[in-house]
Symmetry: C2
Subunit: 359 residues, 2 copies
Amino acid sequence: VGTGLIGASIGLAARKSGVEQVTGWDPDPDALAMAVERGAIDEAAADLGAAVAAAQLAIVAAPVAAISDQVEATLEVSDSSCTVTDVGSTKGAVCERVTQRERFIGGHPIAGSEARGPERATAELFQGATWFLTPVAETTPERYKLVMGFVSAIGAVPQAMDPDAHDRLVALTSHLPHALANLLLNQVGEARVDGHEPLDAAGGSLRDMTRVAGANPRIWIDIFQHNAHELASALAEYRRRIEELELARAASDAGYLARWIGEASLNRRRLLDDVYPNPCDIHRLKIQVTDQPGIFAGITQTLASEGINIQDIDMHHVSPERGGMLELLVAGQEHADEAARLLGAQGYLVTVSAAFARE
Amino acid sequence: VGTGLIGASIGLAARKSGVEQVTGWDPDPDALAMAVERGAIDEAAADLGAAVAAAQLAIVAAPVAAISDQVEATLEVSDSSCTVTDVGSTKGAVCERVTQRERFIGGHPIAGSEARGPERATAELFQGATWFLTPVAETTPERYKLVMGFVSAIGAVPQAMDPDAHDRLVALTSHLPHALANLLLNQVGEARVDGHEPLDAAGGSLRDMTRVAGANPRIWIDIFQHNAHELASALAEYRRRIEELELARAASDAGYLARWIGEASLNRRRLLDDVYPNPCDIHRLKIQVTDQPGIFAGITQTLASEGINIQDIDMHHVSPERGGMLELLVAGQEHADEAARLLGAQGYLVTVSAAFARE
């Protein structure tokens, strides 16, 4: 129900995983036609009732603002044997409002994409992605197994959670960061300092921190409105923490600052723990590169041919004229130094440093 | 004066650029010996007086907290013909306190590095980097030309600015983002949601936004203390903006949210303007990759051999077992689609989308 990017990707993945019959419907006839053309659905239904008439599982992939109504409509026109789920980014409201509570299980795949529409759909969108499911007291094991089995079958990793806890979690890990990025970028963007525009002097830290700023307003206005309560709590707590920092700063409390930075350093390591089991072993190579085809290939080929594994790669592009700085992470000082030597011999300017601050 | 990472890198760059005689001194004898061993200085002086006795230009590269005293000491023991500059991250205090105002010009190279010490020094550290200079009313053109000429000679791009304006600028573009990253990471790190640790569920946006969190406390405590006034203003303004957002949110003011996100989108484009002259033309390829040597080389070589230029490259590493997601930016939809086709034919799972949100 809804054949946009997410709905059509679910259709493609479902058909690929061997689901017998995938029927789709979308209020927008163009989106529906495109879903057929892309092979995302076996059949385009004439209306919602026809779409879910014979369905064992109905997946509502509407915009957040429309999800609750669409879930209700889907429950009404479908058989009581049909289980209904959704893909909205917030779960509290839809799970609270739903009437036939035993037939609905909320869902939320973490499969962000800047793309829109069925023309960009792909069966691989959910490969390895966390897919939150929010069963409630009335949920039966059979229906939960059905949704969980489907989510697993299309490559995602189901994770069960209470609907309100889900909203608190994504408020912290996704909605708060988005809001803070917008706030920061607009503050720097509006500022004028002595005739200079600070935005023009911004370095890598500002660019990293505002990567998600200005994201699709159609999606984000809905999210901010629908997770209002949890986002408000997170923002208020953030504001409280700024005040605490301001007080410590005003009192020149260096001990506070040291503990505060130390805590951030530990949290950063926790964040990267799954990614780099031994972060102290990781070294960063910074390589100045020009903006021309084949540069990356040459560099990565050089390292691969010596058996040096690149753990991570990140390009800080400056301009077409000046090229930029390529950062590679490599495990082991010897590998890092060897890589620097090999690339230095090819004329590259390379620096090596430990990638993560030590205690 | 001070042969740590920055001082020794200046020495290496100066010698490389043809400066006749580079003399160094450091209160730490090990750092001084290492600077000699690295070839960063022609001669290690026995004390500060000996170091600057015959100097035309003295560069003070001490930690921020010690810079003001070290600048004074250097001015006292050097000849009146000697011009003195520094490399501290804040400029207001040192320029205000300095006594022989016509002989001192503040400086601040934007050459961040996680590395420390002369053993990691490199002559290329300042290549293409902005190097702020903060002349004051008493500064003579001759002395300014000397410092500017030196900075240019070692590869940096000098930019003149009022000392207080400099501090306001870096408060916005660097110190505020650092503080906000620490605040965000500690808030998410401390939170517990229904038995879950939100940090463990964090996605790419949180990782990007906290990249600078927990950075070297020795440097950052000093910076937060020395740019206290400007950082306090920036934090208070940020807090005010959160409150404004909270009010708009509480009033369900969707128009405010739309304007706010739209403004962020425009600012994001301004930020990337120099980097991508035609951002709407840039497409993002997301490629699932495993964690093994040669993967990057194979992919980049494939694209290079077809003349497809990679504008930007970014690896989102998940774990050694699961590999991760490689993101490439490519100019032009045709190039992006061709790249996806080529890599798809090699068995990679690839998605393509416009890299930057359109209006």
